[in-house]
Amino acid sequence: MVFWGKLPTSPRASPRAPRETGKPALRLPAADQDRLFYSFFKSLVGKDVVVELKNDLSICGTLHSVDQYLNIKLTDISVTDPEKYPHMLSVKNCFIRGSVVRYVQLPADEVDTQLLQDAARKEALQQKQ
């Protein structure tokens, strides 16, 4: 008999179980296994961010929501750069298409970079398998 692929090893490693390092595992719901940054942005809802777009427009606002395409909704927005964009004066909330985002600037104290690095490594490992 020939087995194709990897034989199942037991016991099955659970993503929620603590790893050998002893640090607590990142709680990543099964549905978001390949959506690390979606989950990351969801954890930042309510925080103030600056979104820099590919057309060089920078918008400051409070993160209201994000979706699987990393489209962003901001509330209480203001254009951070000098007002060379006069048409945005009367707009308070906006929806930004994910494909036009260049950067999302976050305050350093809102992000646990160690946790993010660990999660990224874990996801890269899972995607390889």
Binding site: V45, L53, N55, L57, N71, H87, L89, S90, F95, S99
Partner: protein
């Protein structure tokens, strides 16, 4: 009512007046009537607004179907709130399907 709580969705923005920024730099305003997962939009009573310095002119465009890849952002224009415009509005009897003509009225140097 949010159909998918926690996710960014344009569902709640339907039938509201929006400002749409396009990738080619154009600014459209209109009522959002239809959306899909690519952010393709159907805008009603659309007006294309062209800014020249501190002045602007409006071109009425009726109904627009915008392909999602050209959309930069949508901003809700709250009705009843006076637009804080510093530009001087210059209306030049814009007729249907005609383009505004801009006259430079800056003082001669």
């Amino acid at each position: 009512m949010n159909y998918m709580p926690g996710t960014a969705s344009l569902i709640e923005d339907i039938d509201k007046k929006h400002l749409v920024l396009l990738r080619d730099g154009r600014t459209l305003t209109g009522f959002l009537r239809s959306i899909d997962q690519f952010a393709n939009l159907v805008l009603h009573q659309t007006v294309e607004r062209i800014h020249v310095g501190r002045k602007y002119g409006d071109i009425p465009r009726e109904i627009f179907v915008v392909r999602g890849e050209n959309v930069v952002l949508l901003g809700e224009i709250l009705s009843g709130e006076r637009e804080r415009e510093t530009a001087l509005q210059w209306n030049a009897n814009v007729q249907r399907r005609q383009i505004c003509v801009f006259i430079d009225v800056s003082p001669e140097q």
